[in-house]
Subunit: 110 residues, 2 copies
Amino acid sequence: MNPKIRAQFEARAKIIKAMAHPTRLFLVDHLAQNGPRCVCELTEMVGDDMSTVSRHLSVLKQAGIVEDERHGTEIHYSLRMKCVLNFFNCVEAVLERDVRERMKLAGCGR
Amino acid sequence: MNPKIRAQFEARAKIIKAMAHPTRLFLVDHLAQNGPRCVCELTEMVGDDMSTVSRHLSVLKQAGIVEDERHGTEIHYSLRMKCVLNFFNCVEAVLERDVRERMKLAGCGR
DNA sequence: CTTATATTTGTAAATTTAGCCAATTATGCA
DNA sequence: TGCATAATTGGCTAAATTTACAAATATAAG
């Protein structure tokens, strides 16, 4: 991998990495389902410290996946790139295929 | 996030995490473009130690994204879930949108 | 059986990431 | 101005990830 190619894949990985955490995945899903939401509400949903949730949101924002807008004292986050929801489809496909193949293997053992 | 929901998002995150590394992204891309390939060739393409590449491949395999098959002394890896290629489309969309918006912002400064 | 090649695994060091608490910043309101 | 609420940031520790080197394994060939 030459430096140019490497840089390209690093940029891509950075975006995927932003999605690669259960809490951040949950946040993306929740924003997709419910539209813009303040950090306070998201914090309540997640159940971690607000500072932790805020940091997760900032990772997503840095990656360009969500965006924020201030409303008075609250800051509302919303999904900027809806296409990330496509990730879920494929992820489910992988999980389901795993389940199926594991069942098949279990059957063979009899 | 109750434990059940959390477990669900952890399972999803594990798969996305497997993709969240420049080398692994490159490996997936390369397998998609060129079909099954041995570790030796992939190692040469990547340019890291073979043990490192082997570990990356095992992460992808564990996640169910690639699969392997032995051919004599070589082990050939291939893409098991082609849908992960959809990730690339969205990632490119994010990167392009970033570029566009940054150009627009730069223009405003004049 | 011994050797050579391909791959994986053990291990340890370096780096990154996650999470919490405390402190700071930003805003609206009395 | 001073207080209250919302959110971010600094600082720290714990945990996870990445990586290379060395050692072990697996297979084919002589």
